[in-house]
């Protein structure tokens, strides 16, 4: 595998996208990869090097984020490991599904598969997350997160020799329920590079983990999956470590801010940011589906002009998803930090007067 020359512009671009991606991952547990991979491919990198190098920046980033959020007491390490191991298996299976589809239907077939997975999963899960965020916002009951029926039922099922206690839910749950969730997270991560779009909602709505802890624990899963995947890719020589480290340079600035941001917001905000990003990503993938359908001959051939317009619109929507997410997080952080500083000043003033 040959590696490309890096220009200053591409280094700065990767640093910046890395920063925003880190900001979002620090906050919702994952994100950034969906913009970085296509962006790197447009720089002339083969798809597999883009995916591999991206993954090699993801696991050290997740590590730093997980350590930071663990310092706020938000990480359930045990749950992260129990979900992370089947997730790693899910990634391996997902990659072989991808390879099989690519072999049978070519690039357009594999792109169509990825886009369809994106649209279906994000429509169902993203729609649900947003609706839930909207509902709790309206009811004004933002602080208290209710454990739903599914999660209550799961806790009531006792399967001998498989029960494990998890700190995040303060209850025992059979590991047999958790393994498939982890596996699905990995499967999705292999298909669309963002396993967290399944992992975090699964933890919140199926296991009843509070959203702050779910998004923090996702970082442990991302670390395990990313490290396993990176070793596999490095074995075959697909990792361009320079690219990975340039993205990491930016994303470590971002992830620190994103992680700190979670300490200032209502838990509902995590769901809101996640839901908004998911729906925008869905839109971006839906826009390009006609392109793949026409390449495969399922619909009438599109003109070159239409194809390039659709592609630009799709990528811009992806970038918008990241920028909107990053913007909301930065705004919340800025507001929170300012209020905190004012509060400290008032306390100091009061002490001086005394």
């Amino acid at each position: 595998m040959e590696f490309i020359d890096l220009s200053l512009t591409s280094v700065l671009f990767l640093f910046f996208v890395g920063f925003i991606g880190g900001l979002v991952s620090g906050f919702i547990g994952s994100g950034g990869a969906f913009v970085l991979t296509p962006a790197m491919m447009s720089m002339g990198l083969p798809a597999i090097v883009a995916v591999a190098s991206n993954m090699c920046h993801k696991f050290p980033k997740a590590l730093v984020g997980a350590v930071k959020r663990a310092s706020f007491g938000q990480v359930d390490v045990k749950l992260g490991i129990v979900m992370g191991i089947p997730a790693e298996i899910g990634v391996t299976v997902g990659i072989s599904v991808q390879t099989a589809i690519k072999g049978a239907y070519g690039d357009a077939g594999s792109n169509l598969y990825v886009s369809l997975v994106f649209v279906i999963v994000l429509a169902i899960v993203g729609g649900y997350v947003l609706r839930d965020a909207w509902k709790s916002n309206k009811s004004g009951n933002e602080d208290e997160e209710q454990v739903n029926k599914v999660a209550r039922w799961l806790r009531s099922v006792h399967i001998p020799a498989t029960m494990v206690y998890f700190r995040s839910i303060n209850a025992r749950v059979s590991i047999l329920f958790i393994l498939p969730l982890g596996f699905a997270t990995g499967l999705l991560a292999a298909a669309i590079a963002v396993g967290g779009f399944i992992g975090v909602p699964a933890m919140i709505y199926v296991l009843g983990v509070p959203s702050l802890m779910a998004s923090a624990t996702e970082l442990v899963i991302a670390f395990i999956m990313g490290m396993g995947g990176s070793i596999e890719f490095a074995w075959s020589g697909f990792v361009d470590v320079r690219l990975a480290m340039v993205i990491l340079a930016g994303s470590l600035f971002g992830i620190q801010l994103g992680a700190m941001g979670t300490t200032y917001v209502e838990p509902n905000m995590i769901k809101l940011v996640m839901g908004v990003i998911m729906i925008l990503v869905l839109l971006s993938r839906a826009i390009v589906i006609p392109v793949y359908l026409s390449t495969l001959g399922y619909i009438e051939k599109l003109t070159e002009g239409t194809i390039s317009v659709l592609r630009v619109a799709s990528f811009s929507t992806l970038a918008l998803a990241l920028v909107v997410g990053g913007g909301i997080i930065l705004f919340s952080l800025w507001r929170g930090v300012r209020a905190e500083i004012e509060r400290r000043e008032e306390i100091e003033k009061a002490l001086v007067v005394e």
């Binding site: 590696f3 730093v64 490095a234 020589g237 320079r242 990491l248 700190m260």
Partner: protein, 81 residues
């Protein structure tokens, strides 16, 4: 208070220098590092270099970025208050 601030500045500067040196070395020895990264069949166990590099960078640069924001006054909200 003043003592802690000086300590924070020193630590941040030190970590920043370490991080910069690591990046300088990575790009200075770019060809060698990329040579190691060519996979197990070509370079044997050197294929693991990107993973080791990623872990080392995450520790040093991660600590630097944490200190950097703290120095600018951006901190997490204090708990239990």
């Amino acid at each position: 208070m003043k003592f802690t601030k000086t300590k924070l500045v020193l630590e941040t500067a030190l970590l920043g220098i370490c991080s910069a040196v690591l990046y300088f070395l990575l790009f200075y020895f770019e060809d060698t590092v990329l040579g190691w990264s060519k996979g197990f069949k070509k370079e044997g166990w050197f294929f693991i270099a990107p993973i080791v590099i990623a872990l080392v960078f995450s520790v040093v640069h991660g600590a630097f970025t944490g200190h950097f924001w703290e120095l600018l006054g951006i901190r997490a909200k204090a708990r239990n208050k």
